[in-house]
């Protein structure tokens, strides 16, 4: 079986966690992602920006009750990349066995 290299953007703990979370929901606030991934705001912010630069997620900054709010949403490119990552992971795991 061919082994395809895993997408380096997704093959990192926090970025993979963020994309796995966003793939299951329509959109999520930064605070929600921070809580679920149990990460620090600084680290999460860096990883979210990397995903945004790759075109995998959309980041919307707005105000809610006079407080800044950051909403993240997965984009079609992110969904395609995640599906490909899972496929490659499956072939990688079957080679490992």
């Amino acid at each position: 079986m061919d082994f395809k290299e895993l997408d380096p953007i997704l093959h990192s703990q926090l970025r993979l966690a963020v994309v796995s979370l966003l793939i299951s929901v329509k959109e999520a606030e930064f605070t929600f992602i921070k809580e679920k991934t149990n990460s620090t705001a600084g680290n999460l912010s860096v990883q979210v920006n990397k995903l945004k630069e790759a075109g995998y997620i959309e980041v919307i900054k707005q105000f809610k009750d006079n407080y800044p709010q950051t909403i993240c949403r997965i984009l079609p490119a992110g969904i395609a990349a995640f599906e490909q990552y899972v496929k490659n992971l499956q072939s990688y795991l079957s080679i490992e066995k």
């Binding site: 895993l6 093959h11 990192s12 703990q13 926090l14 970025r15 993979l16 966690a17 796995s20 979370l21 793939i23 299951s24 929901v25 329509k26 959109e27 999520a28 606030e29 605070t31 929600f32 679920k36 991934t37 149990n38 990460s39 620090t40 680290n43 990883q47 809610k64 990552y85 899972v86 992971l89 990688y92 795991l93 490992e96």
Partner: protein, 200 residues
């Protein structure tokens, strides 16, 4: 804490499963909507029975019109504020929201039909049929059996309302259906939500 480091294949799989599981558990409700509507409908049904026995039938129309005008207005404002406060929007929430819009439009159509050809007794039968439909979908989406049981109670109430007369008996059926089909599942949903918060 999740760190930014290289992963093995097994670790990747574990993260994917863990995060998808965390998002899947996110859709849960307090049951406040069921209690709000349950109490409104219960009060309206019981007061209709009382007014009917006191021969004050004209007040029955006022009670129901009041509830059907004030109820949705309060509920929509409350829901709008609640939606603004949520940190995450799931696909289930989105779908349920669209179904609730369809539900309210259908409800308005039934109410309007009552002003034309359909007798008020029949209109109530259709209300309960529609409520049952909505509860069944909602209960299935939440995987909460008391709501599904509530749907069957409301379907049974609809059949009884279609079958029996006079109107005061319909309102008795309505009171019982709301009590067991709305309020009891609503309080059970609230208890399940509070229990979940305590576990967290």
């Amino acid at each position: 804490m999740i760190e930014d480091k290289d992963l093995t294949g097994a670790e990747s799989l574990r993260i994917i499963q863990q995060m998808i599981g965390a998002a899947r558990d996110e859709h849960h409700e307090k049951g406040d909507g069921w209690l709000f509507w349950g109490w409104l409908l219960f009060i309206a049904s019981v007061s209709s029975v009382i007014f009917s026995y006191l021969s004050l039938n004209r007040y029955i129309g006022y009670v129901w019109t009041g509830i059907l005008v004030i109820g949705p207005a309060i509920y929509f404002i409350w829901n709008f504020r609640k939606q603004k406060d949520t940190e995450v929007k799931t696909y289930v929430q989105d779908l349920l929201h669209k179904i609730s819009v369809a539900f309210y439009i259908s409800l308005v159509v039934i109410i309007i039909s009552g002003y034309f050809k359909v007798s008020s007794s029949f209109a109530f039968g259709y209300y309960y049929m529609l409520y049952a439909f909505w509860m069944y979908i909602h209960g299935s989406a939440l995987r909460f059996k008391p709501l599904i049981a509530g749907a069957y109670i409301n379907w049974a109430a609809a059949i009884l309302i279609f079958a029996i007369e006079p109107f005061r008996y319909d309102m008795m059926v309505s009171s019982v259906a709301v009590l067991f089909g709305y309020l009891v599942p609503g309080y059970m949903l609230k208890a399940a939500y509070n229990k979940r918060l305590m576990v967290k």
